[in-house]
């Protein structure tokens, strides 16, 4: 298959859906890890970071077990296995730790004394979060999302293990490159796909960095 545009489109779809799905989960986890103190916090922290250190093939295999017909999520397995939705799930799981890390740092970076000031001025706890904490953490949260998107675009091991390498359905950029490498005479396609990969990842990283810089500038005042 030489449809570079189709591969890029599928990769972007998988990356965007994965990032959008992971965003609220990552934010909630980041908030809990940044603000709450509870027994077992170390365990939760470790669990969140697991996909970062476990071999991706293991993560993919665990997803496969979970969504297999007899697995705990088997009832929706049909809509996920060998489908682009499954590729998005694998990418989301792999991107989650990076997103949580970036968001947690930005939430921890917000001066809680500013929230106290808001409270003394008549703001409820929620209004203080919405008008002070969230806007100040937002650039970091967006940077985390962008980083997660970049990571999603590069996802390989968990995806190929979980949903295989189906052209037009689960064959994102890295998987297409892998397939082209296996094929005699596929070098030209590899070059083109690799160039697109590098360009996309670089763009996402630069955007993430720019957002993180904005976060740094906003918070350190007075």
């Amino acid at each position: 298959m030489e449809d570079v545009a189709g591969i890029v489109r599928l990769s972007l779809l998988v990356g965007l859906v994965a990032t959008a799905a992971a965003l609220p989960v990552a934010f909630a986890l980041a908030w809990v890890l940044a603000r709450w103190r509870f027994p077992g916090k170390v365990l939760l922290d470790g669990l969140v970071h697991l996909p970062l250190v476990v071999p991706p093939v293991v993560t993919g295999w665990l997803l496969l077990i979970a969504f297999a017909p007899e697995g705990p999520l088997g009832s929706i397995g049909d809509r996920v296995l060998f489908r682009w939705t499954g590729a998005a799930i694998a990418a989301a799981v792999m991107a989650l730790p990076l997103m949580v890390r970036a968001m947690r740092l930005s939430i921890e970076g917000v001066d809680r004394r500013l929230e106290q000031a808001a409270r003394t001025l008549g703001a409820s706890r929620w209004r203080a979060y919405a008008t002070v904490t969230l806007p100040l953490a937002l650039p970091g949260v967006l940077a985390g999302a962008m980083l997660g998107f970049a990571r999603s675009l590069g996802e390989f091991g968990a995806t190929i293990t979980f949903v295989s390498n189906v052209p037009g359905e689960t064959q994102t950029l890295p998987l297409a490159i892998y397939a082209a490498l296996q094929r005699p005479g596929g070098e030209a396609l590899v070059w083109r796909l690799a160039a697109v990969s590098v360009a996309l990842s670089l763009a996402a990283l630069v955007a993430s960095e720019a957002l993180a810089r904005r976060a740094g500038r906003g918070v350190h005042v007075l």
């Binding site: 001066d111 004394r113 003394t120 008008t131 100040l136 906003g218 007075l222």
Partner: protein, 201 residues
């Protein structure tokens, strides 16, 4: 009584106990650094929970350990001016001033009293220390508080800025008629601004 405070809090392994009753005007909390002056303000504002005691301001009970009363900070109507101003860095001066205000009806008047009208369009990071203090005082006043808590409002200001800020506080004292609790470790400041002095530590 404007302030009727009797609070105990455990800090660094020892109990800090502060008790005083004071009428209107400016009451000075005077004492060396680390004596617990700021902690006392935090307890009155509801940012630090006392282990025991009570806080009543202008006949309103804000905290009473025995009766199980502990109003959240947003319901205490405290105009708290922090030592570090704590302006919101993502809002311009005007939006900072109006954060706790119901309307902008009194904005011009308060800005004039504090001499901050020319600063309304600026970002907090571009303000000098003295300007930030005055904006913080204005922000507290515009939230329509029942009383003011001023934490070292003149510290780390040079002589000119100090004079500006002192006059601003005197104008607020005379114009607003609110009971004011002012923390300082500077005897001259205590003498000039205070109607009475409470020693802490």
């Amino acid at each position: 009584m404007s302030f009727d405070v009797d609070v105990t809090v455990r800090r660094g392994g020892r109990d800090l106990h502060v008790a005083f009753a004071a009428g209107g005007g400016v009451t000075i909390l005077f004492g060396p650094s680390g004596a617990g002056k700021t902690s006392t303000l935090d307890m009155i504002a509801g940012l630090l929970r006392p282990a025991a005691g009570h806080v009543r301001v202008a006949e309103r009970t804000l905290f009473d350990h025995a009766a199980g009363i502990d109003l959240p900070p947003e319901r205490r109507r405290a105009g708290y001016v922090f030592q570090d101003a704590r302006l919101f860095p993502h809002r311009r001066v005007r939006a900072n001033l109006l954060y706790g205000a119901r309307s902008d009806a009194r904005l011009a008047e308060v800005a004039a009293t504090l001499d901050i009208a020319p600063l309304l369009g600026r970002w907090p990071r571009s303000l000098s220390g003295g300007e930030a203090r005055r904006v913080a005082i204005g922000r507290a006043l515009l939230a329509d508080p029942d009383f003011l808590l001023l934490d070292e409002p003149l510290s780390s200001l040079d002589a000119d800025r100090r004079e500006e800020a002192t006059r601003a506080i005197e104008r607020v004292r005379d114009a607003a008629g609110l009971p004011i609790l002012l923390v300082t470790h500077d005897a001259a400041e205590a003498d000039r601004l205070g109607d009475r002095v409470v020693r802490v530590g």
